[in-house]
């Protein structure tokens, strides 16, 4: 207690942030968990709408909901391909940049690869939507040069739509993950690399035997960030296909958004949100456990 009083200014200084966190992060989090047990139309004013306790009914309903189950299948595709694209490609490019002899060129490439972060994602999505446009898009224009009868409708074909959405991030190198790998490579003790060169190890062998093992924690972080990003992101699907055709590109987060803001089923949407949260936590724990055992 005495120490509390002694450090009162520190505690007072931290209080606004703490209150902000409680109000804007923890309170909505607690409300989401609570309301997932209700049929709730979203209003906090007791005079309006529905606010009826239903226990675990929303969760039971979830696991009978075909669209919800389909959306998890689609998400699995996005997570797997997302990890491959958003981890592998930045790593390869980080290796290229790191191995450039000129430090000036390293800097130039690093900047060039990171600059796309500042482009608003909406611009990128709409650009890709235009590229895929079945009538006037670039994809079909280019294809028609080789074969006038060739026609592909990337976003209108249930088989292709998920690949089309995944390809939208091409070449998947811009951003934080690239910087994580470059930072990781820079932190490797130079003497290890010099020793491998003296021992006659090829560049490929050096990557396999030195870089990858020493970057395991970085891989872990990149994988976790990708999983969380894929699970929470629904904007691109919402903008490009609205989950269609059919439910071929529907993902749980978009389904949650639709249930809340289009169907007014905030209780059901809360249950979807809680389910997503549990899965993110589980995947993070599994990922940490798997990669931890490798590093140890």
């Amino acid at each position: 207690m005495r120490s509390l009083w002694k450090n009162k200014f520190v505690y007072l200084a931290i209080a606004p942030t703490l209150i902000g966190l409680l109000v804007f992060n923890f309170y909505p989090f607690a409300i989401t968990i609570t309301k997932s047990l209700y049929v709730w139309s979203g209003s906090f004013n007791s005079d309006y709408g529905i606010n009826q306790f239903v226990g675990l009914d929303n969760y039971v309903r979830l696991f009978k909901d075909e669209v919800f189950l389909t959306s998890w299948g689609n998400l699995l595709f996005f997570i797997i391909t997302g990890i491959l694209a958003n981890v592998l490609f930045p790593f390869i490019n980080a290796e290229f940049i790191y191995n450039l002899k000129s430090s000036k060129m390293q800097y130039v490439y690093r900047v060039l690869f990171v600059v796309p972060i500042v482009i608003p994602v909406m611009v990128v999505f709409l650009l890709w939507k235009f590229i895929y446009d079945p009538q006037y898009g670039v994809v079909n224009r280019i294809a028609s040069w080789f074969n006038p009868d060739y026609f592909v409708t990337v976003l209108g074909d249930p088989e292709l739509v998920k690949w089309g959405i995944r390809f939208m991030g091409f070449p998947w190198v811009g951003g934080i993950v690239l910087l994580i790998f470059i930072a990781g490579l820079s932190s490797i003790d130079r003497s290890l690399i010099d020793a491998s060169i003296i021992d006659g190890a090829s560049r490929w062998k050096r990557i396999l035997k030195i870089d990858i093992p020493l970057l395991f924690t970085h891989f872990k972080l990149a994988v976790v960030l990708t999983i969380i990003g894929e699970m929470q992101d629904f904007v691109k699907v919402f903008v490009i296909t609205d989950g269609g055709p059919g439910y071929s590109s529907m993902v749980p987060a978009l389904y949650m958004y639709k249930q809340a803001f289009e169907q007014n089923e905030y209780g059901y949407a809360s249950a979807i949100g809680v389910t997503i949260l549990i899965v993110i936590l589980l995947l993070t724990v599994i990922n940490n456990h798997l990669l931890k055992s490798r590093t140890e």
């Binding site: 200084a13 446009d133 009538q135 289009e262 007014n264």
Partner: protein, 484 residues
């Protein structure tokens, strides 16, 4: 010490800032004697906005007690936006809505029953407000659950038509069709257009909000299921309402797995050969462009597109359309030449009904702005003012003593309104509508068989009907809540 005091003051400011952000968001209902009203609509065409601005300007000139602030929310996400406003208890005072939304919002307590005000005298017509509207359309706008109640009031009607490129028809030697054209005529014309290397109909099917799919099936079904619709309309209101659909599902009268329910879906599939490739990712605006560019000979859309089409053709955009000449026709009639199920008694099936509906939120009442909202609404629907929308934005008013703009003559309803909209919005349930559309996309693309599509639709309907029966306590014992 000074530093400590400053730190304390800073902390206090931050705390006050955070706490004030969490305080009640009750807004001022009035500024002195002036009431500030919020008026929101989704009609984001420039002529509509200008017409509304014009009316509000007149209202401000006519009195000085109420100030109206107008804003537009995009049609695509309007409902989402509206629901968040309701949830946050910050809904606008007077706002555009649809019949089915108004009913749902009334059940949730978000919007008001306007019936008492409709029965009052309007100071702008010196007559009962209700008498300002054409009775038929007003009746169609009643609450589906409470007959004789209006949660929203319509001001206009709309219709859907097949726009066609007259010049292209002439060049291809296609005689100009008249309003009596049948589905068989339409198919022959489409075949000719296709043979000439053009797309017969620019039909968008990327999103439920493109509506073409739902409209077409509903119109086709009006010819193919007319006998059933008469049977389903137990209260003989002229429309198959939600309770009657619940009854239909319960008694087995509505069963999508029966062959007669598959007919219109099969016709859609046949028709899809005349649509642009990639129609499942084609948006309405792209389809409109295809039609205006002359890539497609026909375009299926509504009376509300007319003004935009005229503006584009008048040279407002980069592309010049000097030679473009178009006409509009009703959706082709389905006759026995196409299907044995067709009922030749149905002359013209029309989609449309009440439109440009407005409601007053419960929020307006809570903030003491109800009288002002009703007064502005009555002013808006007075013939002198609403005529501005008819003249400037080509609205088809359902307010008496307003003549429609001659340009919309071809859009005036020619037949009876489609009685039921079973394939999408039969239960006023947006998720069911979405489901029906999305399954339809998969069926058209060949990724779902017809039988699977109909099985899934039937199961979804049964599921929704069970929920409705439970929440509204509907059963055969109380005649599913049907009054007559």
């Amino acid at each position: 010490m000074k530093t400590k005091k400053m730190a304390l003051a800073l902390v206090a400011c931050l705390l006050v800032g955070v706490l004030s952000a969490c305080s009640s968001n009750k807004s001022e209902s009035s500024n002195g004697d002036v009431v500030n009203l919020e008026f929101v609509h989704w009609t984001n065409s420039i002529p509509h906005q200008q017409a509304f601005d014009h009316i509000i300007e007149n209202y401000h000139k006519a009195q000085d007690k109420v100030r109206v602030k107008i804003s537009v929310q995009g049609a695509d996400n309007y409902r989402t936006w509206m629901l968040t406003q309701f949830a946050g208890n910050i809904a606008p005072d007077i706002y555009q809505t649809s019949n089915s939304w108004a009913d749902i919002d009334f059940q949730n307590g978000y919007t008001l029953d306007l019936t008492p005000y409709l029965n009052e005298k309007s100071p702008y017509t010196n007559a009962v407000w209700k008498d300002s509207f054409h009775e038929g359309y007003l009746n169609l706008a009643q609450d589906a659950n409470h007959r004789g109640q209006w949660n929203a009031i319509p001001t206009s009607t709309v219709s859907v038509r097949m726009y066609y490129n007259k010049k292209m028809f002439k060049e291809m030697g296609i005689p100009e069709p008249d309003e009596n054209w049948t589905w068989a005529d339409f198919t022959r014309i489409s075949e000719t257009i296709k043979a000439n290397g053009k797309i017969p109909v620019a039909l968008p099917n990327a999103s439920k909000s493109d509506y073409n799919y739902g409209w077409a099936i509903d119109l086709m079904s009006a010819y193919l299921l007319s006998g059933l619709y008469d049977e389903l309309d137990v209260d003989q209101s002229g429309q198959v309402e939600m309770n009657e659909v619940v009854r239909g599902i319960d008694t087995g009268a509505i069963d999508f797995t029966k062959p007669e329910f598959k007919e219109s879906i099969q016709l859609m599939k046949d028709w899809s050969q005349y649509w642009p490739r990639g129609y499942n990712s084609l948006s309405s605006s792209d389809a409109h462009d295809m039609f205006l560019r002359g890539d497609a000979a026909m375009f299926f859309n509504g009376s509300w597109t007319l003004k935009g089409t005229e503006l584009m053709l008048s040279g407002g955009g980069e592309i010049k359309y000097e030679d473009f000449d178009y006409g509009v026709l009703p959706f082709p009639r389905i006759t026995k030449e196409t299907s044995q199920l067709a009922d030749d008694r149905v002359q013209f099936a029309e989609l449309g009904g009440p439109d440009l509906m407005f409601a007053i939120s419960a929020n307006a009442k809570n903030k003491g702005k109800l009288d002002a909202a009703v007064d502005f609404f009555q002013f808006l629907t007075s013939p002198e003012q609403f005529k501005i929308l008819t003249d400037e934005a080509y609205n088809i008013a359902i307010i008496k003593d307003i003549e429609v703009n001659p340009i919309v003559q071809e859009f005036l309803p020619k037949g009876d309104l489609v009685k039921a909209r079973l394939y999408g919005n039969g239960l006023n349930d947006p998720s069911l509508e979405d489901f029906a559309f999305k399954m339809g996309q998969l069926y058209l693309s060949g990724d779902l068989s017809l039988d699977d599509y109909m099985d899934k639709l039937q199961r979804e309907y049964v599921k929704k009907v069970d929920q409705i029966k439970q929440t509204k306590d509907l059963s055969e014992a109380n005649n599913w809540g049907i009054e007559k």
